[in-house]
């Protein structure tokens, strides 16, 4: 019995965005990463070709983090004490690009200085040819001063700078505008807030092919369902032609999952949670894959084994037969 398979025809498409610039393009990256361009829901290859595969970023820090799970610190070993070594290790672990997350304070407890932030960013750029995203520590003032300095010192590299939020986007957007970088725009799980921030950013004159949006997510067990549904709604809106939602989506399942007790700690937890390492990696992997299937273009992870598993999943999702 021949079945007439319904195909969604969408008027809209997600914008195509390239991170990183090669020497020919005014930067120093060995390669660039392009995401977006979807004309159908994720992995529905029978409706439209998905021109670019989603990519995996690994998160590294400017110094050995105080609050990361011992599992992660053990995995990265000494590399985690130095951003350049960490960048190399992350590239070797299979990352498509890197996220350098700046710390609020140095190991001495003093606030991170712009000079230190620039040094860390430069060291990472020198150590690895991958495109780079730089996140501030997440406090408005520190973000502004550190990201501005990094933006100026890395002009032309097409970094993505984050995190722009509604109360704190002007300085970062201006820094990106002046130095040929991109920005990531984060809003707390709400379609309208996401649109609004994207409008504010584009009103400042930043070209639309330089905006990534981070709709925010929660980890598995800690609100993933909200992030999942908001991403589905944002992607549907984009395909329906709403221009201010047509940006590739970046999410941070690594950060969220490793905050959860299930991943973070191995002691004093119920026996029914099973083996710690496997559980932690599964926590991160499932958070990431679930979000990829709701439309994520960039997932930021923390553990190399999660990278391996998520990559295997992406490979398979991307090669599904067109007529399946």
């Amino acid at each position: 019995m021949p079945v007439d398979i319904p195909k969604d025809k969408w008027p809209g498409a997600v914008r195509t965005i390239t991170l990183g610039a090669t020497p020919a393009e005014g930067g120093t990256r060995a390669r660039t990463v392009t995401v977006g361009g979807e004309k159908a829901l994720p992995y529905m290859h029978f409706e439209a070709e998905m021109p670019y595969r989603p990519v995996i970023a690994l998160e590294i820090k400017d110094r050995r983090p105080d609050d990361w799970s011992p599992l992660l610190l053990e995995e990265w070993g000494e590399a985690a004490s130095d951003p350049a070594s960490w960048a190399k290790a992350a590239e070797a672990a299979g990352a498509d690009l890197l996220v350098l997350a700046l710390s609020l304070t140095g190991a001495d407890g003093q606030p991170t200085t712009p000079a230190a932030a620039v040094a860390a960013a430069k060291a990472v750029l020198a150590a690895s040819g991958l495109p780079l995203i730089v996140f501030g520590p997440g406090q408005a003032e520190a973000d502004n001063t550190l990201l501005l300095a990094v933006a100026e010192a890395t002009k032309g590299e097409r970094l993505a700078l984050g995190i722009c939020e509604d109360k704190n986007y002007r300085t970062i957007v201006a820094a990106a505008l002046a130095n040929d970088h991109l920005v990531t725009a984060r809003t707390p799980m709400d379609v309208n807030l996401a649109k609004q921030l994207n409008i504010l950013i584009s009103d400042m004159g930043l070209p639309l092919d330089r905006i990534l949006m981070d709709p925010t997510t929660g980890a598995l067990g800690y609100g993933i369902e909200y992030g999942y549904s908001v991403m589905e709604r944002l992607r549907l809106a984009a395909l329906q032609g709403d221009a201010m939602t047509q940006f590739p989506m970046i999410v941070t399942p690594g950060f969220e999952a490793w905050k959860a007790k299930e991943a973070k700690v191995g002691q004093g937890v119920p026996a029914e949670w099973g083996n710690w390492r496997e559980r932690a990696i599964t926590w991160e992997t499932l958070t990431a894959v679930t979000l990829l299937e709701s439309g994520a273009d960039i997932v930021v992870l923390r553990h190399p084994e999660s990278v391996r598993r998520v990559r295997a999943a992406i490979d398979d999702l991307m090669t599904a037969p067109v007529t399946a």
């Binding site: 319904p6 529905m44 707390p188 369902e225 549904s229 119920p270 398979d316 037969p321």
Partner: protein, 445 residues
Amino acid sequence: MALSGIQIYKLLPQTNCKDCGYPTCLAFAMKLAAKQAELSSCPHVSEEAKAQLSEAAEPPIRLVTLQADGHEIKVGNETVLFRHEKKFFNKPGLFIRVRDTDPAEDIRAQVAAADSYRVNYVGMALSLDGFAVEATSGDPGAFASAISAVRAASARPLILISRDPAVMAAGLRAIDGESPLICGADAANWQAMAELARQHNAPLAVLGNSLDELAELTEKIKETGVKDLVLDHGARSLGAALIRQTQIRRLALKQNFRPLGFPIIAFAGNDAPGGQAVMAAQAIAKYAGFVVLDSFAPETVYPLLVLRENIYTDPQKPIQVQPALYEINNPSPEDPVLVTTNFSITYFSVANEVESSGLPAWLLVTDAEGMSVLTAWAAGKFDAERIAKAVKGFNVADKVSRKRLVLPGHVAVLSGELEEELPGWEIRVGPREAVDLPAFMKQAL
């Protein structure tokens, strides 16, 4: 898909005889469409129209129930493609596969462990749904004894997997009187399998390697009178399974395509790309009714059970706990009062930490409309005024002699205002994360 009033009207006698109690056939049709009247009120409707109307009243995805000894799992009857459109209703059953070539002791041990597995997530006890026994050996006797071994270790619902009707018959005899999911029928064996399903009043999984083949098979099997069908689309890789499952769900919901209006069974093999947990996670979020895992391990099953709860929560209603003053580890009047919100995940993160530390405390759960600490704070549902109201409303001052109140670290900004709202109380700011609470309580309180 429900018919409209006009569509129903066309099936009625259109004589306006009023015997149904309504002035016209159209008025009656409108009431039927609104589900405010019963078709049986019209004595003149033809048998043919009755059949059409009752078929149309059926849900686009059939509800299939699997039962055994008090355990029951219902799947199907879903109404939307995306959970934000309404919600997903019937959680997919999670089953663990065993093979009849495994040694009987291994089967018993694995099944007993999985059967008794129970894990607490935000106050809910989660567990697996049953077992799938696969006739890998091809030998009827081996299949029957494997099934008996499983049954000896678990009373939960079963799925029997074999394509050989003789082997399946032997398996069914081993649990005579039960109605497991028979898995299953294909283009070669469907008549014999349908006959077994009929005899045992059991649901039947149908395997087709394309949607065309699947639709053709279900139509043929339905004619034999077997109605509780389950679809196995045959794709075992992540990408192909995602596409098939999406296509089936869309055909059923958007086109009311009856031949594929059944729940889906998905197999998550250990060799799936990214591992069986990834494949199972996809199946949970993307439309499966039954998910069969290759093996049981708590560290795989726990995340999947949690994902299933998350995806199947009602997007309009966060899971909440009752606002109240909770006692943890028998607190005395000297012990501290910790403040939090009534979002289940928040409450249990805090309560579990304090409970497992053995330290006594009062936990004041405020009515924050089911939101997390920061969400509620941002939404104006967790502020000094509301906290003070809860302190008074639950008569906290009568329970404690030492008036000490600990705020979540994330809302340290509230402490000044709260001091004003609650004169005589010592307001302390706790750590940001609940994990750090026990250490804080030991050192700082």
